[in-house]
């Protein structure tokens, strides 16, 4: 391999290389500091923060140009701009969160963040077929498994178990969508089959399901809430927000390409269904955030509200394939929830409680936390009005339904009110739990990085910095139907003018099977009573 080839490989695979290097670096740091100074955990945390920031800077420098495109035989890894942008901001966000989280496992969480953002970068660099979606789904499962390790907590284990089931169900949905998409071209020339519009609707449903379930859109919000309840904040943010948003970018590109490829309106009630689910999710997330008193749950419901916007964006991508508003709101959504996550982890770490009733006066006690939450609220409100607010309003216009738009606006306002409620609690008289905690000097590395990081992320989320995500290019069409893989030579891949048999129901409409198969003589473990 030439020097240029090595440099290209480093540029293309930079995040994954740094993530892999952490596997050797962190044990070495722990060994070095652990033996003599007993501060191995703290130094490992600094090490992983430096790696996260280096990933961020490296991704920014390497960029997504042709110099970073790696070709090995048939494999092409072509980093995308949204992928690199997510790594650039993800490195900073997670470095600050890991710093605020402190503790014995902070370095491990940083390592998980390194692998998470590397998986996102890699997935968005290979937008072909099912590989990127499979990579993100399995990365989500692996991250939730790794984040839940370390202690035998039944709640965490059950959350991971739920994730395992979800991931295993979503991949068949993607493959079925892929098969339906291939059938569209045949249906266009053979009237005896399903119409292109109905096949496109089936394809849209299959791929939208990935975002709807992974992001936690109503009625699949339960998984997201459990993730935020059970997993550490780095794992929650990656599995519940970052990876679903990366999936949303891929899916929206696919939906745009699909909607552009058919001339008739999309069959079924796919678009109204997704719009309704999005508006319902926003309202549900906001009302639940207002009704709950645990800050972990409130941040979880904020993430549910953000999932509502992702659903509205998916519907807009189907309605108006050429409009980029749907992809513009993804990144601000990720950053806003990450800011709330940063606030949550720093408050939880400081006061050792997540109950609002025990957190009275937290903002008066630690002003830095108040600044973080205020930054998050400003980003949530997308103030001052700019590109992000315009993109959100444009999404509602593209939806074309005034009732849905009103519901979404009301939901967003209620989300802001729920966040302001958290801030107001911080200015009430100080509770005992808050009073007992020592005040930290302002000139402290953690406090400075907390304030600086929060302001930077809020500026990016609210659109003050010119940060925008253009989405990945459309996935290339699925391979042509070819019997080449079969053992025996099959018939020609060309569609016949007259089908040999009448179209029959889908293979999935199979005869009923027993709803529950209990293994005989099972000695296995049941996850939930």
């Amino acid at each position: 391999m030439t020097v240029e080839g090595v440099l290209t490989a480093i540029r293309a695979l930079f995040p994954i290389l740094l993530a892999l290097s952490s596997l050797a670096l962190l044990p070495l740091i722990r060994l070095w500091r652990g033996r003599q100074h007993d501060d191995g955990a703290a130094y490992a945390t600094y090490g992983v923060q430096i790696l996260l920031l280096a990933t961020s800077v490296g991704a920014g420098l390497a960029g997504a140009g042709y110099l970073s495109t790696l070709k090995i035989s048939q494999i092409t890894i072509d980093p995308s701009e949204p992928g690199r942008l997510l790594v650039l901001l993800g490195g900073i966000v997670f470095a600050v969160i890991v710093g605020a989280g402190e503790g014995r496992r902070a370095a491990t969480m940083g390592q998980i963040a390194l692998f998470g953002i590397a998986a996102i970068d890699l997935a968005l660099a290979i937008p072909s077929g099912i590989a990127p979606i499979a990579l993100l789904l399995f990365a989500s499962l692996g991250i939730s498994g790794a984040a839940a390790s370390g202690k035998d907590d039944v709640g965490r284990a059950r959350a991971v178990f739920r994730d395992l089931r979800t991931v295993s169900l979503l991949l068949p949905a993607v493959v079925i969508a892929e098969i339906l998409r291939t059938a569209i071209s045949y249906a266009a020339i053979d009237a005896s089959y399903a119409t292109p519009a109905s096949l496109a609707a089936g394809t849209a449903l299959g791929v939208s399901l990935v975002v709807i379930v992974a992001a936690g859109v109503f009625p699949f919000h339960h998984r997201l809430i459990k993730i935020f309840e059970a997993l550490p904040i780095v794992g929650s943010l990656l599995v519940g927000v970052w990876i679903p948003s990366a999936l949303a970018l891929i899916v929206m590109s696919e939906l745009s390409a699909l909607a552009s490829s058919i001339t008739d309106p999309l069959g079924g009630a796919i678009v109204p269904g997704i719009l309704l689910a999005g508006a319902a999710t926003l309202i549900f997330g906001a009302v639940s955030a207002l009704l709950h008193d645990d800050i972990g749950e409130i941040v979880g419901f904020m993430a549910v509200g953000n999932a509502g916007w992702l659903a509205l964006a998916a519907a807009a991508a189907l309605q108006s394939p050429t409009d980029t508003s749907s992809r513009l709101i993804v990144l601000p959504g990720i950053l806003i929830i990450s800011l709330f996550g940063l606030w949550l982890v720093s408050v939880r770490r400081r006061y050792r409680t997540t109950s609002i009733s025990e957190l009275g006066g937290w903002a008066r006690h630690t002003g830095a936390h108040g600044i973080v939450l205020m930054a998050a609220i400003i980003a949530l409100a997308a103030l001052p009005p700019g590109a992000v607010l315009a993109a959100r309003l444009n999404l509602l216009l593209l939806g074309g339904n005034p009732l849905i738009a009103i519901f979404a606006i009301v939901g967003q306002i209620m989300l802001i009110v729920a966040a302001i409620r958290l801030l107001l609690v911080g200015f009430t008289p100080q509770s005992q739990a808050v009073r007992e905690v020592e005040t930290r000097p302002l000139a402290n590395l953690i406090t400075i990085s907390l304030i600086g990081g929060a302001l930077f992320v809020a500026a990016a989320a609210a659109g003050w910095l010119a940060v925008e995500s253009g989405g990945t290019g459309p996935l290339p069409p699925a391979p042509s139907v070819s019997p080449a893989t079969s053992f025996a030579p099959g018939p020609s891949g060309e569609p016949s003018a007259t089908p040999s048999i009448e179209p029959s129901p889908s293979a999935m409409n199979s005869p009923e099977v027993s709803p529950e198969v209990s293994p005989s003589g099972s000695v296995e473990i049941s996850p939930a009573p």
């Binding site: 395992l164 169900l169 098969i179 089959y193 019997p483 053992f487 293979a507 000695v523 296995e524």
Partner: protein, 202 residues
Amino acid sequence: MPNLELPLVVLAILAGTLAVTSAGRGAWVAIALLAVTSSALEFSLADPSHIGLILRVSAIGIGLIITVPEGLFEPGALRHDLALRTLIATLRAHPVVVASAAAGLLLGLVPLALPIESSSGALRAAGVALLVVGLPPLLTSRFIEATTRAAVVTLSGTLLLRTSIFGALDPLAALAIGAGFACILLVGGSVASRIANAEEEQ
């Protein structure tokens, strides 16, 4: 090699059915057999370099080696659990699953709407049968290890169905899917042991 297709399809469906109906040794051996047979069906002819086959089998192999419970290879117990009589008794105890597998096989053999019409019949039949067998326990089972095995069966079926239409996966997708199989087995095993430990502590 073409004459091996039918035995491999039958073996894969049988292994998938046993993986979701039996417990302990029988189920783990069935999963290993399913991994080998479905990978051979998916990759053998389409991929002359056999990279996909090697990746898939080694990924599932690593996952299984780390996950399988202790004492799995105890010769006496293994012989008893894998005796033909035991296997038949297990299948007879779950007639609905066996009927589902047979129905899935027949359904898959019938050419359905395009583009499935021009796909490989045997691979499609195996894929549909494994999907029909794996999906119900994946959706409803309360047992972690059974759900993990059902997930492997369902994914194997999905990939066989996909291969019957689109051909074998490219190396990168094969790597991602292979890692996914290993991930499912490892995470399933880790969750099961964590809940067992927590229950023991209680």
